[in-house]
């Protein structure tokens, strides 16, 4: 049996990002140098371009105008821009994006269709984008995933298999035009988005 050693250092707890993060985390309007972008295609990675547009809605369905969405994804070959990735990511592809929501709770990312990433058991996962959501009124960020509706391999995805069938659609981006996908994040209601503890 592989024992996990008990942690010797206790985690630093999370606190809300608050309403006033923009001048550091998404600071272009404040004349502060910006290092993150919502456009992951700038370095011209290979793969099918896509745009994901969405909104973040609270438990009453009202838009959240002061949220921040971050995404993390593999390149078209299923490689991550990280030293633990068995294969290197496409040159210049960082796989990370950050976008604040606007007055209508809307966000958008320009990126590429991620490739297939297998689990450590070797099971293929359907192409997905990891999402982290921050906002005032959220004591800790929430984690979810974007999958792509209509793919044949969704049925065999080992993570979706853990989600009650009636809630799986909350994790699916829907194609509304060629290359344009919609993904709404809901913090409540009948179609409340599935969030993960990782």
């Amino acid at each position: 049996m592989t024992e996990l050693l008990s942690p010797v250092h206790d985690l630093t707890p999370s606190q809300t990002v608050g309403p006033f993060f923009h001048f550091m985390l998404t600071p272009k309007a404040y004349g502060v140098r910006e290092i993150f972008t919502a456009d992951l295609t700038q370095e011209g990675p290979g793969g099918d371009r896509l745009r994901i547009e969405g909104r973040v809605l609270d438990a009453d369905g009202a838009p959240i105008p002061d949220a921040m969405v971050e995404i993390w994804q593999a390149d078209a070959n299923g490689a991550y821009a990280h030293p633990a990735s068995p294969k290197p990511a496409a040159n210049g592809f960082r796989g990370f994006g950050r976008c604040p929501t606007d007055a209508h709770g809307a966000f958008a990312f320009d990126t590429i269709m991620p490739g297939i990433v297998t689990t450590f058991d070797g099971a293929p996962q359907s192409p997905h984008i990891a999402v982290t959501l921050f906002a005032r009124g959220m004591t800790r960020h929430l984690v979810t995933r974007i999958y792509f509706a209509g793919r044949d391999d969704l049925a065999a995805d080992p993570v979706l298999a853990l989600v009650p069938p009636e809630r799986r659609s909350t994790l699916l981006a829907v194609a509304v035009a060629k290359g344009l996908w919609e993904f709404t994040i809901r913090l409540g209601g009948d179609a409340e988005t599935v969030f993960f503890e990782a």
Partner: protein, 237 residues
């Protein structure tokens, strides 16, 4: 696909999503339980922003304008560690804060306290090989907010860190020792465990001060994650 590479125990330190005394959480907390996500390459990797992301001077918030900001000049430093106590080197730390009068430069901040033309309140730096970061800034002021009647936030600095995986992402706030507003702040008290709460309070450290120039505080940060080696499937024998 049941394995977790990092243990879950430490996550108890975090505040629950619903913390009703902090009233904005009521409509911004999921109502359904979180689903446990097994760790795949998606989770044990994460954004890498190293030496190309920070430029000289971004860690000194007192030298970003023509003159120096008003307020008590302070140095804030500490080590970023993982749950095994290993340093997390070459990792981005972003900070933002109110000025000494308790006013943010943010357009949405309407607190009638003065802005400071010499202070933006935004900084970033990279941890060194020992996991250490260091900022120079001014001590932020307390400020009122509308959570409840006569609500005031204790002085704090916001921090955003990535660590080395998707799981180590952390946004938090650092507080100052002895703040009389602690018992009244629903955000600080959204963390149920007193010991965990107190880990957000920096420690005054005379050895960090610089004589005739700045006071000094130590604030260590422990991020999720242990040595990122896929573990064997546990056998229940």
């Amino acid at each position: 696909m049941t394995r977790l590479i990092y243990p879950l125990d430490g996550l108890k330190a975090h505040p629950p999503s619903l913390s009703p005394a902090y009233t904005s959480t009521v409509r911004r907390a999921p109502s359904k339980p979180l689903i446990l996500l097994p760790h795949s390459l998606t989770e044990v990797t994460g954004p890498v922003y190293g030496h190309d992301s920070v430029v000289a001077g971004e860690a000194d918030l007192t030298r970003q304008h023509a003159g120096e900001p008003l307020g008590e000049r302070i140095i804030v430093t500490g080590r970023v560690l993982d749950e095994d106590g290993r340093p997390v080197p070459d990792s981005l730390v972003e900070v933002w804060q109110a000025n000494a009068a308790g006013r943010y430069i943010h357009v949405k901040d309407q607190h009638p306290a003065p802005l400071d033309a010499n202070f933006t309140g935004a900084g970033r730096c990279l941890t060194d090989t020992d996991g250490r970061y260091r900022f120079v800034t001014v001590k932020p002021g307390a400020y009122p907010w509308r959570n409840h009647h006569n609500a005031w936030r204790p002085a704090h600095i916001h921090l955003s860190l990535f660590g080395h995986s998707f799981l180590s992402r952390l946004v938090t706030q650092m507080y100052f020792p002895g703040d009389p507003l602690f018992p009244f702040d629903p955000i600080f008290n959204s963390i149920p465990d007193e010991a965990a709460r107190n880990r957000l309070i920096a420690r005054f450290d005379l050895s960090v001060t610089e004589p005739e120039w700045a006071l000094g505080y130590q604030f260590d940060i422990v991020l999720r994650g242990r040595q990122a080696t896929p573990m064997e499937e546990p056998h229940h024998d």
